[in-house]
């Protein structure tokens, strides 16, 4: 199973890359993806998660072929 992971803005800079390709053997929650992809236990306060371009909470399951993104609060407009 392949999961595409993306990071944006200040998080991208902190992590030092714009994304990861994760190979896993079973569906993971968004939080598990975060931990595996970044190697970090701590999930920053206020960090947002989008699964296939829709906002989700950290307990939603991520499946094969999904694109998941982590990013700080948005500041457009």
């Amino acid at each position: 199973m392949n999961i595409k992971v993306k990071y944006f803005a200040s998080l991208r800079e902190q992590i030092g890359r714009s994304g990861d390709y994760l190979q896993v053997s079973e569906p993971l929650t968004a939080m598990e993806v975060w931990k595996q992809a970044t190697g970090r236990e701590y999930f920053p306060d206020g960090l947002l998660i989008a699964l296939n371009h829709e906002y989700i909470s950290d307990d939603v399951l991520v499946n094969d072929g999904d694109e998941i993104a982590f990013f700080p609060p948005v500041t457009g407009g």
């Binding site: 993306k6 944006f8 803005a9 200040s10 989008a50 371009h53 829709e54 906002y55 993104a69 990013f71 700080p72 609060p73 948005v74 500041t75 457009g76 407009g77």
Partner: protein, 149 residues
Amino acid sequence: MRHIEILETVFDPCQIQKNYQQKSMQGKTGYGATASFIGTMRDFNEGDDVAVMELEHYPEMTEKQLNTIIDIAEDKWPVQNTLIVHRVGEILPGEPIMLVVVWSAHRAAAFDACRYLMEELKHRAPFWKKETLVQGDQRWVEKNTDGHE
């Protein structure tokens, strides 16, 4: 009707509004109200002088989220046409950042929908601003100010 445009170069909001209306509402005379909002880059933020701003976004999600908020606005108000334009890339003080225009038969719907789109765009659309101060420091804008500040 709707149109969403993400631009990497400077744009003229009044001209875009005029051209889009001419193109999309040719011969239509049933709309009585057009409410619009232009966000322009200021030369200050939180007490500091800003030299330049870099606007990053998440292209596929931006488009999807903007379409969703227009869907909701069309459900809530009798909106006839909507235009959203947003800049990305390097932006200088005085340059427009975004434009939201709503056409409706009545002014209350046009005003309410335009403001709703503006607020929802600020809350949901995946854009991020990084400022370079006149002194040279760089910083990410951390939080959008409340619309009712």
